[in-house]
């Protein structure tokens, strides 16, 4: 049972790319300080869902979004500063991205945008975020090295460090472990478990077991539909409402 004001309230969300419907009338709530998992096969609309959450359709002339998304009660299409919204939402993509600047500048990017100028402050933020992203020990002696030339696993942790430097309310992860080795995956999963107390996390994953390990509640998306949402344990121990969910979870298709 979940009580309280939802962090995120999605009502009848429909996302289209030209003539193709990626999400068809999805409604769900994400509660504060939970890890909300989203599982489902490819092309089910999971990525489109995340993109709609921080209004990325502004950068894609092909993408149309209908329906309502409330972020802490605020209708995100009615706010006057969409950049402030994006700053409160951290995003981690499937493909690791290290910006072509020093590791230090990668993590200092968002704080600088927010107006932080003093070196001492930036130093502190960079160290704190790199430590929390489990990357500090490996790069602390070469913070001037190019972020774009790090290994895949390091770049993914760098992305997390960047996301943390935004001091986000919400963290969105889209299949973050695809291009990353199992050890790094485990380290990042530990980081997420620690972060749960401070921020709310939406975790899209193609690894069903990863949802089981991390998510409090999990949603199953299938071909642009939200099939069901349930407490993770219930989803995986068989008391599911929909046969399709059981089939997917048990690996009969994917």
């Amino acid at each position: 049972m979940v009580v309280g004001v939802p962090k995120l309230s999605v009502q009848d969300l429909t996302v289209r790319y030209g003539g193709v419907t990626a999400l068809d009338g999805i409604s769900l709530d994400v509660m504060p300080n939970e890890i909300f998992g989203i599982i489902g096969p490819a092309n089910s609309g999971k990525t489109s869902f995340l993109r709609a959450l921080n209004r990325m359709e502004e950068f894609d002339s092909n993408m149309t979004v209908e329906g309502k998304i409330l972020f802490e009660g605020q209708d995100i299409t009615a706010i006057r500063n969409v950049y402030a919204l994006r700053r409160k939402v951290g995003v981690v993509f499937p493909l690791p991205v290290g910006l072509p600047m020093s590791i230090y500048e990668n993590v200092a990017f968002s704080p600088r945008l927010a107006g932080v100028r003093k070196k001492a402050q930036l130093d502190e933020i960079v160290e704190r975020c790199l430590k929390r992203a489990a990357l500090w020990d490996e790069v602390k002696d070469r913070l001037h090295a190019l972020g774009s030339l790090l290994s895949g696993g390091q770049q993914q942790r760098l992305t997390i460090a960047r996301a943390l430097s935004q001091e986000p309310e919400l963290l969105l992860l889209d299949e973050f472990s695809i291009a990353v080795d199992p050890v790094t995956t485990m380290r990042i999963e530990d980081v997420l478990k620690e972060l749960k107390d401070e921020i709310t996390i939406v975790l899209v994953t193609n690894l069903v077991q990863q949802a089981r390990r991390l998510a409090d509640r999990t949603a199953f998306f299938l071909q642009s539909e939200l099939v069901e949402v349930a407490d993770t344990e219930e989803l995986f121990t068989g008391s599911v409402k929909d046969q399709r969910t059981r089939d997917y979870v048990e690996g009969r298709f994917g």
Binding site: N54, M56, F59, S61, Y83, A84, L85, R86, R87, K88, V89, G90, V91, F93, L95, V97, G98, L99, P100, M101, F109, S110, L113, L146, S148, L149, T159, R162, A163, Q166
Partner: protein, 291 residues
């Protein structure tokens, strides 16, 4: 017989292959060799007149003697003003096309306009410059009118070079910045432009080389055959290297043979050096990968 032994058909194919390859190589060579020969002749016939004085003295004796200083300075003036006019607009246009423009008819029209701008004959640009800058806007025959004419003509060079270098920056970088809450401009300013400056510079050097060599667009808009003094401001007329070559080879009587060759040699060297600089800069950049 072994399956891998050469058949008669194989032999024939190999011969034809060799013939075709050699034929095309020959064609390539024939394209390039005449130019090398020409450079050789220019150097040979122009050498007698070359000296430090040639570059620093003004033309004398009805332009049959002396140097080319006035023309050189004039070209510097014209190129500089043309750059100041065209680079900001060109870069802005390229940024628009690469970072902002949606995929619609307006964008397609802009691209078509750029291609056409590049294809308009230089003499038509001259007519445009005359009608627009000299007459309509009232600048008269001046460096300003000539430079603006050249700026319009070479705008496509800057736009295309800038756009290509902007688009060479991977889209993923932009998405990462946008997702962090950066505006389009902040992303361009902090990530895209700094990683494209080099490509833009290459385009600028190319534009300089093209502008320095053009004759027709400046003939009627501000360049004069002979002036006894250097220009003092943008509303003055001026001599120019490209026009000077035309004048000493067709309009001046009793010119010693080496003089026009010398002028041609200097002009072609200026242009080739700038292009070579642009090319080597590009090669240097390719080896300095940042991602």
């Amino acid at each position: 017989m072994s399956v891998f032994a050469r058949t008669a058909l194989d032999q024939q194919n190999r011969r034809v292959e060799w013939l075709v390859k050699t034929l095309f190589l020959l064609m390539t060579v024939l394209l390039i060799v005449p130019v090398i020969l020409i450079m050789g002749i220019l150097i040979q016939r122009g050498a007698p007149v070359l000296s430090w004085g040639f570059l620093t003295e003004v033309p004398t004796n009805g332009m049959t003697a002396g140097g080319i200083f006035t023309a050189l300075i004039g070209t510097v003036w014209i190129v500089s003003v043309a750059l100041i006019a065209s680079v900001p607009i060109g870069v802005a246009a390229a940024v628009y096309l690469s970072e902002y423009a949606p995929d619609n008819w307006l964008t397609r029209s802009i691209n078509l306009a750029i291609i056409n701008l590049a294809g308009v004959p230089s003499i038509v640009h001259a007519l445009f410059g005359l009608g627009a800058f000299v007459v309509f806007f009232g600048f008269g025959r001046s460096i300003l009118a000539a430079s603006l004419t050249l700026a319009v003509m070479t705008l496509p060079i800057v736009i295309v070079a800038t756009r290509e270098s902007l688009q060479a920056v991977p889209h993923a970088f932009r998405e990462a910045c946008w997702n962090m809450g950066a505006t389009r401009w902040q992303t361009i300013r902090k990530v895209v432009l700094p990683n494209s400056i080099s490509g833009i510079l290459t385009g600028v050097i190319l534009e300089v080389s093209r502008t320095a060599g053009e004759t027709a667009p400046i003939m009627f808009t501000g360049a004069a055959a002979f002036l006894p003094f250097l220009p003092q401001g943008v509303l003055d007329q001026t001599m120019a290297m490209s026009l000077h070559l035309y004048v000493v080879s067709t309009q001046v009587p009793n010119v010693p043979e080496a003089l026009p060759f010398g002028v041609a040699l200097i002009l072609i060297s200026m242009v080739l050096v700038m292009n070579a600089a642009s090319i080597s800069f590009r090669v240097y950049l390719r080896n300095k990968r940042k991602w």
